[in-house]
């Protein structure tokens, strides 16, 4: 059995190009796979995920956020920041919100002001608005229709730029080619200085990385604006900015030419600005984005409604841009026990899949996450890892799963860490994972040294080469330990989804999040950061970006 040649994904309506550009998904011949999962149970799990997720989608559709509206301005081409570094999109939105509120959306009042001749461009309007010399109003009648049409024209031009970037990626992948192995190798750089990141990323690509992820500065997820320009200072990471995206993508295009394979770039559409960062990623041809439906709520205490609204918009942008999302289920296992909480990973994957598809993403764009985090002291820990990894593989056969290395049980014993990471890689190759985040032996000690990365890649190459197509021979005994364990986790997942669906309020998922079901964090829907940036849409609400993105 070999990996089937990837099939071309559906392209946006105005794209005729098709190219090999999906990370490897699972290879299966037998419909019931190696675990012989009961199709009725699998259907039931998906049906429950839909039932639990649907009310949250409805909730998201009824609200808008400051970040969704700012993303709309960014798609319309508004860039840059004032001399204090506050982006013009924030300045314009804040001024407009002060006059007419957030609930009608930014488009009507802003393009109405442009049509009234308050300014000749968005940039000038933003400057005048922040100086207080423009008054906004909610237009009505013909004024409203004209403002709507003008907004739509200008946002559509931005979305066409996103489409162009997508076609550009397709051309480059065709030209340079994809990695010839599975899983694809994903490496992180994080110096805080984009000009240090670039040579590190290029060196990592030379050493064998197929995907480069630039870790963000720690504080960024809680900033309610996207910093501007090339940045040279960050905390444990580099700020995600439009200019940093552009610089790194250009550098990796150079590497792709040098190496004869397309090197992908990853960043983070998460935190308070995820819709804007998604838009910037689409405009800068990033290839993958971390984009989890619940991570910000659970781990950053961002308001749940804000998160779900921002999520939906950002996923619609990613769908359009041909970006592969990576979800963050690995994080649950860093707080909860990887055996006891295994089913919360599966439930979250099912929810992420539902939310992603609802937003227009396709299977090949779903880098659903999971991790090798079982306590290595447990007997049969490796067998359980294989079981969990195979369960994800078989539940989502067409998704490029993201396989995350151990962190929780890594210690200062770097030799043991090296061994653990090799077992992690072996589990990944045996179970057909799509994207392998390379584990570092020094995980618990330092940010990776040059030699750590080199040793880690050597280990990955050895395991992948030595194991070869061992996944063909790896067929767990029917009704054996691995099969039984997978069934148990799937069963517990269905049980948990049923409990969530049985919550009295229609949005049982929000209740489940509030009472600490995922990652042990309790997050009520009426608390958390960014709540003041959420508004219930009025009858008059218009957002041309959402309109266009939902037309597909």
């Amino acid at each position: 059995m070999t990996v089937p040649p990837p099939t071309p994904p559906a392209a946006p309506p105005d794209s005729s190009a098709s190219a090999v550009r999906r990370p490897p998904a699972g290879a299966q011949t037998n419909r019931r796979g190696k675990l012989d999962l009961d199709p009725a149970t699998v259907r039931r799990a998906r049906e429950l995920a839909r039932r639990v997720g649907q009310p949250v989608v409805d909730l998201a559709q009824r609200h808008t956020t400051v970040s969704v509206e700012r993303a709309t301005l960014r798609l319309a081409g508004l860039e840059g920041a004032d001399p204090d570094g506050t982006p013009w999109v924030n300045r314009l939105l804040d001024a407009c919100r002060g006059d007419v509120g957030l609930e009608h959306g930014i488009a009507l009042p802003v393009w109405d002001a442009l049509l009234r001749g308050e300014a000749e461009s968005l940039a000038v309007l933003a400057q005048k608005a922040s100086a207080g010399s423009v008054r906004f109003r909610l237009p009505e009648g013909r004024d409203r229709d004209r403002a709507h049409a003008a907004a739509r024209d200008q946002v559509a031009a931005g979305i066409r730029r996103v489409d162009e970037r997508r076609r550009e990626r397709e051309r480059l992948v065709e030209l340079h080619g994809d990695p010839d192995h599975q899983p694809w190798i994903y490496l992180i750089v994080a110096t805080g200085d984009i000009y240090e990141d670039i040579p590190q990323a290029q060196q990592a690509a030379r050493e064998g990385a197929d995907i480069i992820a630039v870790i963000r500065s720690t504080g960024q997820s809680l900033l309610d604006y996207v910093p501007e320009g090339a940045t040279r200072e960050g905390f444990a990471g580099t700020y995600a900015t439009q200019e940093n995206f552009r610089l790194m993508r250009a550098a990796l295009d150079e590497s792709s030419r040098e190496l004869g394979r397309y090197v992908r770039l990853t960043n983070y559409a998460s935190g308070l600005c995820m819709p804007e960062i998604a838009a910037l990623a689409g405009l800068a041809r990033l290839d993958m984005m971390l984009n989890d439906s619940m991570y910000g709520i659970l781990f950053r205490d961002i308001n749940p409604v804000r998160t779900f609204v921002d999520q939906r918009f950002s996923r619609q942008v990613h769908a359009r841009a041909g970006i592969v999302i990576n979800t963050g289920e690995d994080n649950y296992l860093t707080t909860a026990d990887a055996v006891e909480a295994a089913h919360t990973v599966t439930v979250s994957q099912l929810l992420n899949e539902y939310f992603a598809k609802e937003a227009g993403l396709e299977d090949w764009q779903l880098g659903l996450g999971h991790a090798f985090e079982i306590d290595p002291e447990l007997p049969d820990s490796f067998r359980m890892e294989l079981s969990h990894a195979l369960l994800a593989r078989e539940l989502f056969p067409d998704a490029p799963l993201k396989w995350m290395p151990p962190t929780r049980h890594m210690t200062g014993d770097v030799f043991r860490g090296y061994l653990l990471d090799a077992f992690f890689t072996l589990a990944g190759t045996l179970t057909g994972q799509g994207i392998l985040l390379v584990g570092m032996m020094t995980e618990a000690v330092v940010t990776p040294w040059l030699s750590d990365r080199d040793l880690a890649l050597r280990s990955v190459r050895y395991v992948m080469n030595a194991a070869g197509n061992l996944h063909e021979d790896f067929v767990p005994a029917p009704d054996g330990f691995i099969v039984q364990r997978a069934r148990q986790v799937l069963g517990e997942s269905v049980d948990l989804l049923e409990r969530i669906a049985a919550h009295e309020s229609p949005t049982g998922l929000l209740d489940a999040i509030a009472d600490g079901t995922f990652g042990l964090m309790r997050r009520p829907a009426d608390a958390g950061r960014g709540l003041d940036g959420v508004a219930v849409k009025s009858e008059a609400y218009v957002n041309p970006a959402t309109e266009i993105l939902e037309e597909q």
């Binding site: 504080g219 809680l222 905390f235 781990f299 950053r300 205490d301 707080t335 080199d454 964090m521």
Partner: protein, 271 residues
């Protein structure tokens, strides 16, 4: 080399006796023979070891090892990493001795507890959740420090204080004014107030901290005042008295250390 043979166990020495090599105040690293002094190190040098450069690179590694006191060095492994770097593994005996009488460590004045132990101690000692209010004060918008300690995501592989079931964490975020912080601390009946200062101009972090501690002393009777803790990369751990706070944590402090300290001070004094 032959298989390692374990030396016969030596009986424990009586105190005050002239120490033998294995038990005395002077010790050497142990490879497979007492006193062999063997160590193994690995490091990277920014030199090429491709082609003809390999011998020169090994020489460079041996030179460093000798300067480190490893003599004679055995450069066991030379691994080129691209054109400009080489990774080495070096074995050899060190010429240095360790005098165990001269070992000095700065003792932590509180025991380091696991999250489980912290939760248990609070449950048994306080019989309620311990309330922690955290903030960045002044103009500092960098919540990275306070978030690393408070957010469940944590820092350095340790979960933040939110992860502790028996800790109630109220994270006020950035740019919190001192009066607001005092008001929230009162409202929440805080047992401890954590303040982080990351990016500051001149000595703003010191002035802000003094302002904060003065405000708390004014607002509370001295026996009711919450424990005041500040942290950040520019603080000196020994400056607590001068700043009027109970504890200063410097760069690299982990959530587990903070949780252990709070438990020691608050639960310890309640018990």
């Amino acid at each position: 080399m032959t298989e390692h043979q374990a030396p016969p166990p030596t009986p424990p020495q009586q105190a005050g006796r002239t120490p033998e090599r294995t038990e005395g105040p002077l010790v050497r690293p142990y490879g497979d023979t007492t006193g062999d002094g063997m160590v193994q190190v690995s490091f990277t040098l920014p030199v090429s070891s491709l082609g003809d450069a390999a011998k020169h690179a090994e020489g460079a590694a041996a030179q460093l090892a000798r300067k480190m006191g490893i003599d004679p060095p055995l450069v066991a492994h030379t691994q080129p990493m691209g054109p400009g770097f080489t990774f080495f593994v070096v074995y050899g005996p060190v010429t240095h001795l360790v005098d165990t009488r001269e070992v000095r460590v700065v003792e932590r004045d509180y025991p380091l507890l696991t999250p489980k132990e912290v939760n248990l101690a609070i449950r048994q000692g306080l019989r309620r959740r311990l309330v922690v209010v955290g903030a960045c004060i002044g103009s500092d918008a960098h919540t990275v420090g306070i978030d690393a300690i408070l957010n469940i995501k944590g820092f350095a592989g340790e979960k933040g204080l939110e992860y502790y079931r028996e800790l109630k964490v109220v994270n006020l975020g950035a740019q919190v004014s001192v009066p607001e912080l005092v008001a929230r601390a009162r409202e929440e009946e805080a047992d401890a107030v954590l303040v982080s200062q990351v990016v500051t101009q001149r000595d703003a972090h010191l002035l802000n901290t003094q302002e904060m501690s003065a405000a708390f002393r004014e607002a509370y009777p001295s026996d009711r005042r919450p424990l005041l803790v500040v942290g950040g990369p520019r603080f000196d751990e020994s400056a607590a008295d001068r700043l009027g706070v109970d504890r200063v944590f410097a760069r690299g402090t982990t959530p587990g250390e903070v949780a252990s300290y709070l438990t020691h001070r608050i639960v310890g004094s309640a018990a």
